[in-house]
Symmetry: C2
């Protein structure tokens, strides 16, 4: 298990009574309650669910799915695609997104908003503006969302797919226009600045599907230009087949030279046939039906296990987000953990064995020593300790000592 | 001919006698003597030729070839590959390169040194040094060459192929080591700084074969980081086939957004069979014989004409360098203007028709007016005007007025 040593911590707990005297020679029970590592998923059905917009069988199905979701994941990505979030200028869907965010937060999830600036699914009404107006609107939009959600959402994919942004030529859009005019670095600088000012505590990401040296060179240019990036977002939509361990390690090594946290922000493996290799833009692949198959489900589960193991073993990876939880989402792909007819796929069970099994610190029963000390080892994250009928939460960091004061 | 209007200038010359009175109503003859545009070529046989290292038939052949060279070109690239220039540490080939540079300069050529920093053909003895020592040696080498040749060579490919430099994995070398450790931008910043300090008047280029957005993003990062690049070098080794006008225009447009001069630094079209498309690194293609064929020579000539017309029509292109003049140079390719058996290929004649024909201002006979004025129009560059038995040189800029004082 040396592979995962960097994921573990060790702490000496000192249990004391309200008067400060040690709780000596008492049995304690220690349980992990949450991973520090962010095991996440994007499943936007949470928005209608949390807003009570679902009914009957559908409501039941989505509610049940989110029970499974919340049992496995501690991290969720919420949709802030501008064109959908504010289809009519001046009428953002702030309330319904807030309800969804609160619903997930109440259930223990860390949240990320995705994305604040992107040329795809951006607001179509930008096309009627001058470039200066588009930039103003973009920055105002960032300030608004990041302020409105501060405390609920403190992590953002600030800008998405900048490598292709100014040369994106499938259709005209406001964001490509301003990126082409300003250049990539000035635009990224501005959008990060707006987000940072709106919530100085937020963790701000850049995110891309392009994992070539072009992205690495862009990041180097941004860092040299003084843009503070909190984490590098790497997409791994593998509709055309699993990258394999070797390519994954190559990507990890290449993007680790910046000494920044890496988030695998959008991870997909399908449980049906693979998308043909000649498709360049995944969005070009349109199918009526994309069935999940028994062989596909086996392959998906095995490859997901390999992918998660590879990433969890790499020290500066701090998050993995799956895309999406339910089949039939983006591209109508069987990319989820739950089939369209509501069956839990093998991938769920196999990742559960890792996330809540192999990588989860089992319940420990220990006895404090004469000085009230007990040593805890385990995977980093939140824990609780029970002793003499009381339960107190604590967080296990890399190392250190923690005083637990009973009431 | 509107396509080339940006290449032309118009000036009012005022001819005056030594006492300042106008030379009225006299016939003048105006001849272009040199293009402002840099039509260049890399042909390293100039080094032994200028150093009197050739004998007999070979000397005759190379001397004859350079007569053709100098009739067509006004610009030459000289080799400064570190491993060849200084095979033994501390023993640079400065003298022989100086002789070659002086020889070409005396014959009217502008010169460029290529390259000062590159992972390929670099000094093998760098491998015995620490990274700090390699960087010191690299910067000292740049200061030495740029100082030693100032006045002779005032243009340098400062750094070559930075996009691949830190991830180049074909063999270990000192430059990849330092680029990987420092990052691309800090290395480029340092080598440009060293060159700039050694010769503030020099024109400093970055150069790459990678013409993807990775290179554009790198340039943007460098400019944002405050590195002053005087011209963007773009290689176009087309051993696997002509790019075509459309791709050439796409590249020109993409790299023009920086508002910097563009040099096509290494241009190749072969007059034999094309290199197979599956070859990724051109250096991997090794052949005993690569014959020049009649069809190949026709194709080479036609495509070269199209390529030169496309580039000459694009305003911020300021130089085109062919690679090389004689067949059998790099890769043993029939990429030259002269076959191995000393025959001048059609490409020479066709480009001659452009460079010294269509794009060359023909001799003009004009008469000054009462005030001694005469208006000259033509392609930008150096000219001479003859009047009353005297010949005076002048330079035709975009527009303006020039006083010509007769002795």
């Amino acid at each position: 298990m040396n592979t995962y040593e960097h994921r573990k911590g060790k702490a000496v707990l000192k249990l004391v009574r309200p008067d400060g005297t040690p709780v000596s020679m008492k049995e304690v029970v220690i349980r992990q309650t949450r991973h520090k590592f962010l095991f996440g998923c994007a499943e936007f059905a949470v928005v209608p669910l949390a807003n009570d917009k679902l009914q009957g069988e559908q409501k039941e199905r989505i509610s049940w799915a989110f029970e499974k979701f919340l049992d496995l994941f501690n991290f969720a990505t919420l949709p802030f695609y501008w064109g959908r979030f504010e289809p009519v200028k001046g009428q953002p869907q702030t309330d319904s997104l807030k309800k969804a965010a609160q619903w997930l937060k109440d259930r223990g999830c860390v949240l990320k908003g995705h994305p604040l600036c992107w040329h795809t699914l951006t607001a179509p009404w930008l096309l009627e503006m001058t470039n200066a107006e588009i930039l103003d609107a973009q920055l105002a939009r960032i300030r608004r969302e990041v302020s409105d959600f501060a405390g609920l959402i403190d992590m953002w994919d600030v800008i998405n797919e900048v490598v292709i942004m100014p040369v994106f030529d499938k259709y005209d859009n406001g964001i490509t226009r301003i990126c082409k005019e300003m250049g990539r670095i000035p635009l990224v600088r501005e959008v990060f600045k707006a987000a940072r000012e709106a919530n100085p505590r937020a963790i701000l990401l850049i995110n891309d599907f392009n994992i070539s040296e072009a992205y690495a060179i862009l990041i180097e240019g941004l860092l040299e230009a003084g843009v503070t990036i909190d984490a590098i977002g790497i997409q791994s939509h593998m509709h055309q087949g699993y990258w394999g361990v070797e390519k994954t390690l190559e990507v990890l090594e290449r993007f680790s030279r910046f000494n920044l946290p890496i988030h695998f922000t959008e991870t997909t493996l399908v449980s049906g046939h693979l998308m043909p290799p000649h498709i360049e833009d995944l969005n070009d692949y349109k199918v009526e039906e994309w069935p999940s198959t028994p062989e596909g489900e086996e392959r998906q589960a095995q490859e997901a296990v390999l992918h998660y193991k590879t990433l969890f073993a790499w020290p500066n990876v701090e998050a993995i987000t799956w895309w999406n939880f339910l089949d039939g989402g983006w591209l109508n792909a069987p990319a989820g953990f739950i089939t369209k007819d509501g069956r839990v796929k093998p991938i769920y069970h196999e990742l559960y064995k890792l996330i809540k099994g192999e990588w989860w610190t089992g319940e420990q029963r220990l006895v404090t020593d004469d000085d009230g000390l007990v040593t805890v080892e385990g995977y980093l994250g939140d824990y609780e300790i029970s002793c003499m009928g009381q339960t107190v939460p604590f967080t296990l960091h890399k190392d250190g000592s923690i005083e637990i004061r009973l009431a």
